[in-house]
Symmetry: C2
Subunit: 469 residues, 2 copies
Amino acid sequence: MNDQVNHYLEQNADRFVDELKEFLRIPTVSADPACKPHMTRGAEFVYRQFSNLGFQAEIVPTAGHPIVYAEWLKSPGAPTVMVYGHYDVQPADPLDLWTTPPFEPTLRNGCLYARGATDDKGQVFTHIKSAESWLRTLGKLPVNLKYVIEGEEEVGSRNLEDFLNARKKRLQCDVAVVSDTSQYGPGQPAITYGLRGILAVEVTVTGPKKDLHSGVFGGSVANPASGLAKLIASLHDERGRVRIPGFYDAVTPLTETERQQFRDLGFDEAAFKAELGIAEVAGEEGFSTQERRWARPTCEVNGMFGGYTGAGPKTIVPSKATVKLTCRLVPSQDPVVLTDALHKYLKSQCPPSLKFEFTSYHGCPAFVFDPNSPYIEAASEAIREAWGVDRVRLIREGGSIPVVQTFKDVLGLDTLLLGWGQNTDNLHSPDEHFSVADFHRGIKASAILWQKLAEMSHSPSVGTANRIC
Amino acid sequence: MNDQVNHYLEQNADRFVDELKEFLRIPTVSADPACKPHMTRGAEFVYRQFSNLGFQAEIVPTAGHPIVYAEWLKSPGAPTVMVYGHYDVQPADPLDLWTTPPFEPTLRNGCLYARGATDDKGQVFTHIKSAESWLRTLGKLPVNLKYVIEGEEEVGSRNLEDFLNARKKRLQCDVAVVSDTSQYGPGQPAITYGLRGILAVEVTVTGPKKDLHSGVFGGSVANPASGLAKLIASLHDERGRVRIPGFYDAVTPLTETERQQFRDLGFDEAAFKAELGIAEVAGEEGFSTQERRWARPTCEVNGMFGGYTGAGPKTIVPSKATVKLTCRLVPSQDPVVLTDALHKYLKSQCPPSLKFEFTSYHGCPAFVFDPNSPYIEAASEAIREAWGVDRVRLIREGGSIPVVQTFKDVLGLDTLLLGWGQNTDNLHSPDEHFSVADFHRGIKASAILWQKLAEMSHSPSVGTANRIC
């Protein structure tokens, strides 16, 4: 890569970490209405990053939290790259399981600990600092860049599509880059060519209109917590398969070639179990752990609650009980169709003595990017150089990034998923963290990527990337 | 009843309500460690009631919350009556469902609204004010009285048995009186001759050692919330019967005579459903609602929780999930044996991929008092006079008062269960309340009862009361 740019990265490494810490101190929990003022501060922080570099930047209000948009378009003839990321984070609870407070970023064992460190503040920041390294040294970038940094990724990106639609023309690009995934393991950088889709719902069943004394009334009215437990229990059969009628109808079976590729990546089950603190792996019968995580659909309880949840006993029949569910989807499964199937199935399982309420939150289908595309090759070269390794793994991911589908639908864009994090970074969990070395390697890979994409523009294969799901 | 006593009751009616309000303002939630200072204030309030009347009174420390003990023994030759009650209350949550704050007693529609209004501060207070009415008018009581007012009834009376054992000799009495139950309906006073027993447990199942991202890990590890739901769902069969092996083995079947008595009491199912806001009654197949509530054993979820319980979605696999369960027991069922059976059954249902933890809280067997005893007759006369009715119903109750069994086991005492409340008083629920008219009638009935019990001491049938379970 360019020596001046490289030198700049080395000289400013510590400051980049300090700035990231400042970013992480803002508790931008998009799901929590109490965090609204912090969301504004978060957007302003991101905006200043761009305006200070001479980007044309703005904070775009939405019906929810604002989107920061910034563009630098002074490389005529060079390709235009969309960078997407999000400044919002997951709720931090349970707070008592954090070693240090979630919004007081702390360096420990070479990692930065804070909510959002890896998901996604730390990762999106790499693409901002890479642009800075070009602009502060050579005064220009080898490509044109358009950044969309939103504040609602953790609550379903509910205003992003409207934003993209409203600026459809202005947002035309050649390819999108997103860093919100993981490497395959420490020192094993990877490009994620497939993601699972998602659908998210909440179900509440209500019995008596208020909590009742379980002695006086117990046994004579339907208990909504028991009823909900039966609904939840009805979601899986003895073989770990999801019982929703039609759930597997559209699933494209894994080919033997793909299953072999998964096996070739190597997987240490003993280490996996030790890391998670589990006695046994579990899941759908007949599939390996990697297949279950990357390529098989699921239906998971994310949370459930009903009745008394404090200390000690309380002798009541609860009035209501609630479960939060998400299904992970694989290519060809339709979240709208399956949300409807889930709704119908659970409702059919609910006894008439309980009231049934169903809320659908958000959904997106799964995504697969052609692993032979020249964009993948350009990204692989950048990563190999930044990490100093011979091999970049092509992997799939169990998580969902709905925006990838939105970019395809609205802008016709394919997305390069370049994950600098690790699966063990505790994203969505207490003690979320991000390796400082990976943060710096990510900035470097990003800086090289702008060059590689610029060079690629002269090759005949531009524009052949295809989503193959 | 004695005219002077009656006059005193009428003259002081409003002050009695004011004093009860003062009692209700103290948030004596025994389950909540944060309420410890209030528990002390509650005990002191009760202590002052007795010391002001010339009782020999003391606040007795225990390993938990203190017990207030008070005695007046200046009627030699007259029977000695134990009065038991509790100054602790259930937790007040969910707070947002209270019309007025739980610890700011408020008069509305002839009722006093506050946590503890009926369970048990309002009811136990009637027996204190009845003693006051004798002592402040005639300077003496027709019987000897020993009061045990504890602060841990809502958390299993865990230090009461030690207290009774330590003072076994001093606490000898002829009969016990407890007002912690309900009338059959408004204007339909009742004596409760049977109670269900109880066992209370908590089960926690743990999967991964921390919450995991449901995209990255979902489908490859056992979800403890799903696992717990299966355990809960396994507790009942399709006919509403409890599936714990041996659960019904010791149950004495209801006789046809008793079932007919239940039917003769009359029961308005439409009103019951409207009051609770339910579309259908539910429960064990083949039994009426009254049988299900009073004379059939149950297994109820009191609370369950696991994973994310805040607003909106959160895409995790929870680390653990917990359920709080109570079983109501009928005569001959042994809580120790059945706690063990429940433990074994649930453990056998838990998959090896989840860690299983079981906590047993407390238990007591069911209780039945001989409905033909002269004590029951004395109490019936007192109640008929105070309420001005011709009939006092003999009923059973679905709730449990473990102390009734403890009094029998430790002191050989039978207990008169004289309920002044209503089942619709929202005990253990938001908007708990107690009819002010019933409060005054309860004081009057108690004042008459002391006289009736004194008269009974001259009859040959004293001491023939027998517990028949």
